[in-house]
């Protein structure tokens, strides 16, 4: 090991290989791509969750064919403040890398649908974001494509999913980032505290595409699990991602907290006139400005939790809630 490598290995030094392993990892040149035998067809429309999912697969080496209608995917125009690079929006530039582009008018042309079905026979993955059932009605849904290609993995993205009565009822509702965030519980936990003036005390959206990126990541993860099953058995399957539960299912907390604790929250907040819209005061105590103070308290042997608290009111509420003794409260306030 060279002296320089030694510097890069705090613990693995003394004849270890860690420096070498890390140096090897820094270099991507000449290394194989995992999905170099995979063809992905992305026909998603005005939905970045699909584009993002395809983008992850492309990064791992898949051949991704982005199929657009003749006028182009409307996603090309979804861009901050209308800023484009020669007519193409920033997010599309960013997520559109590593792909190949072709036009097929599968919405209107039976001829193009046939072409698409032919392509799908060679493909391992199809990604689409049309209204649930729309591709099926055109004769190129999972039902028809999988008959010709049983190994096909068909990833469908929508607002409410591909099954259940609700999905049928709201089938035509398109999926966007902000509705995905709101429907799956992110903004309810973000924003100012109830005593702040409007609109600062409103639920707040995540300042990036938390909904679409989480849907896209979930779709890519589910798709890769399906690819592993396909590798083992040759069997394909359908993957269904619903924007309205992408976030809540990824972090899992809304469901469990909603079930275990919400009753005590409601009791705790009955004095508050805004209870109706503040049924979830988790935000009031826990999810506050990160620049506010942090309270740390220890249990017998270890530090238990670090909690940000905003004001004395909330600290008091927090203490009632955790049933800390007054003495302990005082001690903690003194030491913080």
């Amino acid at each position: 090991m060279s002296p320089k490598e030694e510097v890069y290995t705090r613990h693995g030094g003394k004849g270890g290989d860690r420096g070498k392993i890390l140096a090897e990892m820094m270099n991507a040149e000449g290394k194989p791509e995992v999905l170099d035998d995979i063809l992905v067809l992305d026909v998603s429309s005005a939905n970045f969750a699909g584009i993002i999912c395809a983008s992850y697969l492309a990064e791992f080496g898949a051949e991704v064919l982005k199929i657009e209608p003749p006028e182009g995917d409307p996603a090309r125009q979804i861009t901050p403040f209308g800023v484009t690079v020669q007519g193409v929006g920033i997010p599309f530039m960013f997520e559109g890398r590593n792909k190949r582009y072709m036009t097929l008018d599968i919405k209107n042309s039976a001829e193009d649908r046939k072409l698409f079905a032919k392509l799908a026979q060679k493909a391992a993955v199809v990604i689409e974001s049309f209204t649930p059932g729309e591709m099926d009605a055109w004769g190129i849904g999972y039902r028809q494509l999988s008959a010709a290609n049983p190994g096909l993995i068909y990833i469908a993205l929508s607002a409410y999913g591909q099954y259940t009565d609700k999905a049928k009822e709201s089938a035509k509702m398109p999926d966007t980032d902000i509705t995905s965030q709101a429907g799956s519980g992110l903004p309810a936990q973000m924003g100012g505290t109830p005593d702040e003036p409007e609109p600062n005390n409103w639920p707040l959206r995540g300042g990036m595409w938390a909904g679409w990126y989480i849907s896209g990541l979930s779709a890519a993860l589910g798709g890769t699990v399906a690819l592993i099953h396909r590798q083992n058995t040759g069997q394909g399957q359908m993957v269904d991602v619903a924007g309205m539960d992408a976030y809540s299912s990824m972090v899992g907390m809304p469901a469990t907290i909603g079930f275990t604790w919400i009753l005590s929250f409601i009791l705790m907040d009955t004095g508050n006139a805004r209870t109706a819209s503040w049924r979830s005061p988790r935000r009031a105590i826990m999810i506050s400005a990160p620049c506010s103070r942090y309270w740390a308290y220890g249990s017998r042997r270890m530090i238990g939790v670090i909690l940000p608290t905003v004001s004395l009111t909330f600290w008091n509420r927090h203490c009632t809630c955790t049933r800390l003794s007054r003495k302990k409260q005082f001690f903690i306030r003194l030491t913080s």
Binding site: L22, T176, D177, L186, Q237, M253, A255, A276, L324
Partner: protein, 451 residues
């Protein structure tokens, strides 16, 4: 032809999920990680059928076990912890002893994946890092999770969710323009998203190993995982300006914001395309807006001055309608709208239960708990919940006996030397008070128990 939704209802039927095959059956994962970032990657593998053995220190356990919101426990456990570590085997070994390391090395011989998230270099210093494990088992896939990566100038800085949110730039994006108040993304998104990336890369490595027989080392940096979600850098390189904070308004679509309705509820509404906008104007009975040259074209509509104008029109309209009315209109006219869902709604809405994205799970030890289902539903090899988190060291005997093939006397010896251990009296580590462990057949695996 059969109706599409009755076809998909059969294809995805959540009641049949537990009988379907598991994609990762036979994959063994050693999970050295703690808190959320590493454990969630391991849990995702466990959800799809991998055998995940979680290692913890006796009488101490994972840091996150007792760390519940407001110190409020549910049946002496951290309810959130159940979501993070379900479906795993809980083994508790004392890493300070030589025998424990031998035990780990023996397990590593047959393992496929190792996951750790200590500060970079720590696992190697303890002799359980990639360097050592890959010598024992060259085909191993080793995932190291950290905040800033295994190499680079920031590598020795420890970190967690909030620091990664700060370092990636996510923190600067949440909040209102022209204020100095920043908000963090809730629910440890900074752990869950990179954890999902970690699981994704392990799956890719498994796919590669099947083809070539080669394992590999994966370096997953939390900060980079969050950065992958931002196109803001690209925006900056084009315009030399920052997108900055835009409050509740999404600058990529117009109108796209969170509004307050006539009945004091909050509603997210967005129009991503010209078509959706047209549908929205017809719902508002203001179809003339769709022909207005300021709003007709998407790119024109997105210009800040036009966007402001249109957002104001939308705000005023939403104010006159109830939330339920607008959502109903959205269903009919086909534009995106959703009520801002809070924990209570998510836990109780019927369609989520039917879909399986929120599940009332009946556990042998803890009883009924509502937990989240997967965010991607697979028709062939669905993710599933088999059991919730378990007390510290609950699967000691099962893992040693069934997976490692140790004899009763060997296990007793290990117990005596305190190589393996269990919980003490702290909540989060111990079982619920009403639960009699001495009668539990899994905790006492291989012993006779009177059930």
């Amino acid at each position: 032809m059969e109706d599409y939704f009755s076809y998909t209802a059969k294809l995805f039927n959540p009641d049949e999920a537990s009988q379907k095959p598991e994609a990762l059956k036979g994959i063994r994962v050693l999970d050295f990680s703690h808190v959320i970032f590493g454990p969630i990657a391991a849990r995702l593998l466990a959800d799809y059928g991998a055998e995940v053995i979680k290692l913890e220190l006796p009488f101490f356990g994972d840091l996150w076990r007792p760390a519940t919101y407001w110190g409020k426990y549910w049946k002496h456990s951290n309810p959130i912890w159940h979501n993070i570590t379900k479906n795993k085997y809980f083994l508790s070994v004392n890493l300070q002893l030589k025998e424990s390391k031998e035990l780990i090395y023996k397990m590593a011989e047959k393992a496929d994946v190792v996951i750790e998230n200590f500060a970079p270099g720590t696992a190697d210093a303890w002799g359980i890092g990639h360097e050592k494990i890959s010598k024992i088992n060259p085909k191993i896939i080793f995932l190291s999770c950290s905040t800033y990566g295994q190499f680079g100038p920031m590598r020795y800085f420890p970190g967690w969710d909030l620091l990664a949110q700060g370092a990636s730039g996510v923190l600067t994006l949440n909040g209102y323009p022209d204020t100095d108040i920043y908000y963090k993304l809730p629910d440890y998104v900074g752990d869950f998203v990179p954890g999902n990336f970690g699981a994704l890369s392990v799956l890719m490595a498994l796919y590669h190993r099947k083809k070539t027989g080669k394992g590999q080392y994966i370096d997953m940096a939390q900060t980079e995982g969050l950065m992958r979600m931002l196109f803001n850098y690209t925006y900056h390189s084009v315009t030399k300006e920052a997108i900055g904070r835009t409050g509740n308004t999404d600058p990529t679509m117009v109108p796209a914001s969170i509004f307050k309705t006539a009945d004091d509820k909050f509603l997210a509404l967005a129009c991503a395309t010209a078509e959706q906008f047209k549908n929205f104007t017809s719902a508002m009975n203001m179809t003339q807006l769709a022909d207005d040259k300021r709003f007709a074209e998407t790119l024109e509509r997105l210009k800040p001055e036009n966007a402001k104008e249109l957002t104001k029109i939308a705000t005023d309209w939403v104010k006159t309608k109830s939330c339920a009315d607008i959502v109903k209109l959205a269903d009919e006219k086909n534009f995106p709208a959703a009520e801002v869902a809070d924990d209570y709604m998510i836990a109780n809405e019927e369609w989520r239960r039917k879909r399986g994205s929120v599940v009332l799970f009946k556990d042998d030890v803890y009883g009924d708990l509502v937990i989240a289902g997967p965010s991607a539903m697979l028709s062939g090899t669905p993710s599933r919940t088999k059991w919730l988190a378990r007390p510290l060291g609950y699967h000691n005997r099962l893992v040693l006996k069934k997976f490692l093939g140790l004899s009763e006397t060997e296990i007793e010896k290990l117990e005596k030397k305190k190589v393996i251990g269990t919980f003490d009296d702290r909540p989060g580590l111990k079982p619920p008070v009403y639960y009699d462990l001495s009668k539990d057949p899994i905790y006492n695996y291989g012993k006779e128990v009177g059930k």
